[in-house]
């Protein structure tokens, strides 16, 4: 009985950590521009697919990971420069629609380059699962959790201690004022897209040994990541992590104790409940807008 509960919990935390990493990417771009970047899932896909295809060509794993992350970073910059920047005076909704278009484009490109098949990536360390009180934990889950924790700490440090991070925050609060004090807002935006792409691709690489990877893996994981970010309160790093973990655990518990048929329904009704009672999410900033 207890071992079953523990198994559901481990499953939930592993999936949840994945969602959290994706949610962090959403948070970052939202903080910089109030845009919800629906191409976030594609960064995840690029990370996984590029690593797999490069290792298949004989590139050593570590180098392949670094190159894949760089590729995703460049793609993030390209997305901001070529798709978002030209529409600079457009409102936020238009920009969000642009990111949806970009995601479809990237997905199509990936399908042409890498085909439609699913690909495997080996575990980073041993493929033997770890057994705790009768429940088993995939050793890759520890990597997901570890990498996730490092990312969160790094992001918190970036936003509170570095000038660039503060510049991003300033831009998000008031673009004109930020420009007046000498912040080059276009560069800041580009930076935000790049960092968020890096985050996404790292997430894609660490989860690929668990989920497999293919050209369309970004759709549903991206969507779940967005749900996690919204539950946590868009814009809050802490919220993204808590939202992701909560979503993962609720999903696993629903599949285990209720019925696997209702797993997704439970997850998506969770966002309704949270937004109904706490419209700004669990950790959302308590801003009152004057009308």
């Amino acid at each position: 009985m207890f071992s079953e509960f523990l198994q559901y919990l481990f499953t939930g935390i592993t999936i949840g950590a994945t969602y959290a990493l994706i949610a962090l990417g959403f948070t970052l771009i939202y903080n910089a521009s109030h845009v919800i970047n629906f191409a976030q899932g594609e960064f995840l896909m690029i990370g996984g697919m590029a690593t797999v295809s490069m290792t298949a060509m004989g590139v050593p794993m570590l180098l392949a990971v670094v190159l894949a992350v760089i590729l995703a970073g460049l793609l993030g910059i390209a997305l901001q420069r070529l798709a978002i920047a030209p529409a600079k005076d457009a409102n936020v909704v238009t920009l969000i629609i642009i990111t949806i278009g970009a995601s479809i484009f990237i997905r199509g490109l990936a399908q042409l380059v890498w085909g439609k098949g699913y690909h495997v990536m080996p575990n980073f360390s041993s493929s033997e699962p770890i057994e705790i009180f009768g429940a088993v934990l995939n050793s890759q889950s520890l990597w997901v959790l570890g990498v996730g924790a490092v990312m969160v700490v790094a992001l918190v440090y970036f936003f509170t201690r570095t000038l660039t991070g503060k510049a991003i925050l300033a831009t998000s609060m008031n673009k004109d004022a930020a420009r007046l004090v000498g912040i080059r807002t276009q560069v800041v935006l580009m930076l935000a897209f790049m960092v968020s792409a890096l985050l996404g691709s790292v997430a894609g690489i660490v989860v690929a040994p668990i989920t497999f990877t293919s050209y369309n893996i970004g759709i549903i994981l991206g969507l779940k990541g967005f749900v996690a970010a919204a539950i946590g309160g868009l814009g809050s790093g802490m919220g993204a992590v808590v939202g992701g973990l909560a979503l993962g655990v609720v999903e696993a518990m629903a599949a285990g104790y209720l019925s696997s048929d209702y797993k997704d329904a439970v997850a998506f009704s969770m966002i309704l409940l949270v937004l109904f009672f706490m419209p700004r999410g669990l950790f959302g900033a308590k801003i009152v807008e004057r009308v």
Binding site: T18, P129, V136, A255, G256, D261
Partner: protein, 386 residues
Amino acid sequence: MFKNITRRASKFAAIAAVGLLAMNVQAAEPIRIGSFLSVTGPASFLGDPELKTMEMYVEKINKDGGVLGRQLELVHYDDAGNASKALNFASRLIRSDRVDIIVGGSTTGATMAAVPLVAQAQIPFISLAGAVVITTPVKKWVFKTPQTDRMAAERVLNDMKERGLTKVGLISGTGGFGSSGREQTLAAAKEMGGIEIVADETYGGSDTDMTAQLTNIRGTKGVQTILNFGFGQGPAIVTRNYAQLGIDLPFYQSHGVASDGFLDLAGSSAEGLRLPASPLLVPDSLPESDPQKPVVEAYKSEYEARWNEKVSTFGAYAYDGLMLAVEAIKKAGSTDKAAVRDALESIQGHVGVTGTFNMSADDHNGLKADSFRILEVQDGGWKLIN
């Protein structure tokens, strides 16, 4: 005067010659085989090997002198996996291309879209899609070559019973293939008796972890074996989770993942699992006495030599469809549609790649559940279990 007569005579001769020529042309007019397949789009993994197989064997048959002394002509359209396109193309094949027989329909959706049209036009149609609904209830003009998922379910449950496993935990995908497989497994278990489905779990098509469902099944009282009915990457994830959880119950998969791609994805976790599959996966381990052995070996080597890619069970459905059509036309001695249909229905003991076809008025598929072979994964490869 005389000049006039000769002129008339030569005119007459010319007309007669043209007439003769026309008759000759008519005699040598090719037999037109129509086809609509999902060569591109989401079902391209079906349509692509099917089209390659059809092209290749139409060529081969023509080189060997054709059928009834006439050449074959393949008229093909790509429905891209879209049922309404399939309907348009079926209509074009019948009305403007005036084909003699249709062999095609990669997916159940495309097939069922074309069925009413085919029935109305009264033209024989051999479908290459899987679902039970295509030939149950029997439709006068519609035949099909792949086994149904019902047969796969029966084959697996029989193998379980033979091993003394009677309490089954079922886990299935919620996609079309998985949910139809689930229904057929439940129905087959009820009908067969002596075997019971004690757990019934599902997972979504893009789920990335099924440990919760498997833990549930493992915790079900009395469960002796687990069956996964699904398609795509889901079953590979189930297989991996199964190995991670260290479940030691006998494990079965469906024919939906009977391909080498599945082995690549699931890796060493697939070791020891069983599934129903076409003999095409294990041509070398078939016994010499197996009548299908030469057919399977010939198809595999010819396909691989021609296209330089691995043969797939889906291409074999097209091979069987084309060969059944050819045999029916030979038997009928003409391309008269009603005669060909009657001939198709009376085909007995036709040895194909998928199985041995015994058609009848109430069975337009002609295969039995035992045309599936039970394979076990051993040392990263397929092993035939007798």
